[in-house]
């Protein structure tokens, strides 16, 4: 069961119709998340990585709307005999965003943690109250039991003296502690998938190390899958099993971490890896920046979205939209010229 599929996103399109035009934030994204594994979703701001996550949970802000595509959640159904598990497949995209089915899954079976814990926790309520609220929404247990569970969870995420912090308000906690509290809230119902949207971007390096360590530990113990959204390639390399690279609302490359970091196929992935300073190598190599900038959302380039910044693009790239090519090892790339790009990186 461990290598089974937990979530499949198929040609998802989420658009934002605005006065100035339609923003195609997510434009035909395919993703697969395996049970118990960690999928990294990398890309720069505006590439649609967060909107993909919001679409999975059906919390896309207005006027955004899922236009097309399926989000298949393989929900485990415990059988009476307790021996084998079967899954039922639910298309989340077809559910009503505020209907009972979606609400049972959101926060219960798929939970999410956000970048800025200060703005995503309620400042009017104690962290204990907020965690208990999450439990009572999904489990039919008594208030007192829920409180006990919440304190256990706070202890589990490394908050010292959880009984005392239970009644604290978010502003009384430091950034790292707040992120721990949010992780506790997300994991208290033992979800099978945790979506973490830039969970450590707002934190200092030493605190980031603590939180990443904690997430890895909890994942091992609770056996959940993680979808880790980040722009930091270092975090991806340390945490993930598979990576999806996104650019302008599309997946441009997918593969296991080792292949993507050591044998990237897409020019964008290659350029990204060459443009970041690396600890221990910095003075030897000149950084090669990616020229130009991410195009704005209303003027998407024709053909391959990366072609105006690509160093190896041909005239065909400006016209035809490339399709996804799958390699023997399962790595996928959306580039018409990947075969002519020469040597793998070291």
């Amino acid at each position: 069961m461990n290598n089974g599929i937990l979530l499949e996103v198929q040609s998802l399109k989420t658009y934002f119709p605005l006065h100035e035009g339609v923003v195609k934030a997510v434009d035909g994204v395919d993703l697969t998340i395996k049970r118990g594994s960690t999928l990294g979703v990398v890309g720069e701001s505006g590439c649609g990585k967060s909107v993909t996550a919001f679409s999975i949970l059906q919390i896309v802000g207005r006027p955004g709307r899922i236009m097309e595509g399926r989000i298949l959640f393989h929900r485990p159904v415990p059988r009476e005999d307790g021996l084998s598990q079967v899954s039922e497949i639910i298309d989340l995209a077809a559910l009503h965003p505020r209907g009972p089915d979606m609400r049972a899954i959101r926060g219960g079976e798929i939970a999410m943690i956000f970048q800025e814990p200060m703005t995503s926790l309620s400042m009017m309520h104690t962290i204990g109250f907020q965690i208990v609220e999450a439990i009572l929404l999904h489990r039919h247990i008594r208030q007192q039991e829920a409180r006990q569970k919440a304190i256990e969870m706070l202890h589990r995420v490394g908050i010292p003296k959880p009984e005392e912090w239970f009644d604290a308000y978010p502003f009384q906690l430091s950034g790292g502690m707040r992120q721990r509290a949010m992780i506790a809230m997300a994991l208290v119902c033992q979800p099978s998938l945790l979506i973490a949207d830039e969970p450590t971007t707002a934190l200092d390096v030493t605190i980031q190390a603590q939180i990443l360590e904690l997430m890895r530990e909890l994942q091992r113990d609770l056996g959940m899958a993680v979808m880790l959204i980040t722009h930091d390639l270092g975090v991806v390399a340390e945490m993930c099993d598979e990576v999806t690279v996104m650019y302008l609302g599309e997946v441009v490359e997918y593969g296991d971490v080792d292949s993507v970091f050591h044998n990237p196929l897409h020019p964008y992935t290659k350029a990204l890896l060459r443009s970041i300073p690396r600890l221990g190598y910095s003075k030897e190599k000149e950084l090669e920046p990616i020229e130009g900038m991410v195009p704005d959302a209303f003027n998407r380039p024709s053909g391959c979205p990366f072609h105006p910044r690509c160093t190896v693009s041909s005239r065909a790239c400006a016209e035809a939209h490339p399709s996804m090519v799958t390699m023997e090892n399962g790595q996928m790339v959306r580039c018409a010229r990947y075969e002519n790009l020469g040597e793998p990186m070291t």
Binding site: E44, D204, H231, G234, A237, L279, G280, P289
Partner: protein, 348 residues
């Protein structure tokens, strides 16, 4: 008091001597001073002409405050800021008042962290970049426009961008405008505060390379403030590490990264995630949070989080001392500890 590390070197463009910046915290109706936050506490540091000094530390460690003291946005509480002018005179910027500071404000400039809030949304790029020229009566009219156009081209923008407002630019372009503004008066020293932190990964390298090119062309000295150790390794010649308002280690870049002598530097280096799945390093995870600079721990400020801390660290505050090769460190046991730098961490 840490010993001044100044030997009146001709090469030093800036020497800080026991610099302190304490902010009062007021309480109650009458606004009596409750206590002081020691944002910068007893910092002594020398910057050589033409070098890039990286200043690293976590949020709240006082690195931005230190930068702001140097360009005299703040009046430091105590200490000296010796600046060597182009003709070799030494002036203590900390002692000068507003009027006396004016000529030096042209020579020490700062670029700011957030490219969104540091440019006035109601001014055109011409006004933003030209403002320092106008205020200092360097030029006006046609000549000013020409100067602004040249500056914009030098930072990789186009002259016709002059008539636009900041909202029309991306983060990277705004950072370039901020850099053009800092360069307008041909400064000698630039304090670059988190110059690339707010930018997308693919744009960071562009700005870093731009800063290096400008340094080469204009002979600039940079104080490069950043929390990102991989960026600092790339751009800095020497690196200073700050923790809760104090310097804990200063050394040549490769010396500091490969042979750190302070446990905090070691932990910082090990905490940086490496963009290589084959190098999942064994991290040294520091426990606990950063101390509050309003009520720092006793003795060595780092001792509650330090894995090598001993009895002495609880009481005795270590002073910065030179251990050879211009490597200074504030740790009692710097000679005994064998700490791992980036190379050793990569292997594990």
């Amino acid at each position: 008091m840490s010993a001044p590390i100044t030997d009146q070197n001709e090469q030093d463009i800036l020497v800080l001597n026991s610099l302190k910046m304490h902010f009062p915290v007021r309480h109650g109706f009458l606004g009596g001073v409750h206590h002081y936050v020691r944002a910068v506490d007893d910092v002594s540091l020398a910057m050589r002409r033409g070098e890039t000094l990286g200043l690293v530390g976590e949020s709240g460690c006082g690195k931005t405050t230190l930068g702001r003291c140097i360009v005299r946005i703040y009046q430091p509480t105590a200490g000296e800021i010796f600046y060597r002018t182009a003709n070799g005179d030494r002036v203590d910027l900390a002692q000068l008042d507003r009027k006396e500071l004016r000529p030096y404000r042209r020579e020490l400039r700062m670029t700011f962290q957030d490219p969104y809030s540091s440019l006035c949304p109601r001014m055109t790029v011409r006004d933003i970049v030209g403002e320092p020229l106008r205020i200092n009566r360097v030029c006006q009219g046609r000549e000013l426009e020409d100067r602004v156009a040249t500056l914009l081209q030098r930072v990789g923008l186009r002259a016709e961008h002059m008539r636009r407002y900041p909202h029309a630019f991306s983060g990277g372009q705004r950072q370039r405008i901020g850099i053009a503004r800092a360069l307008a008066l041909e400064p000698r020293l630039v304090v670059a505060d988190e110059a690339v932190s707010a930018l997308d990964v693919s744009v960071r390298a562009q700005i870093l390379n731009l800063l290096q090119g400008l340094q080469h062309d204009f002979g600039l000295t940079y104080l490069f403030i950043s929390h990102d150790l991989s960026v600092v390794e790339y751009i800095a010649d020497r690196v200073a590490v700050m923790y809760v308002g104090r310097l804990v280690e200063v050394a040549e870049q490769s010396e500091l990264y490969y042979h750190p002598k302070h446990p905090y530097t070691e932990a910082l280096l090990s905490a940086v995630p490496r963009p290589d799945p084959r190098m999942r390093s064994k991290r040294i995870v520091l426990h606990g949070d950063l101390p509050n600079p309003g009520s720092p721990p006793s003795g060595c400020y780092f001792h509650p989080r330090c894995r090598y801390a001993r009895e002495r660290c609880h009481e005795d505050t270590p002073e910065l001392r030179n251990i050879g090769n211009g490597h200074v460190v504030a740790c009692h046991f710097a000679d005994e500890l064998s700490l791992s730098g980036v190379a050793a961490l990569a292997q594990s």
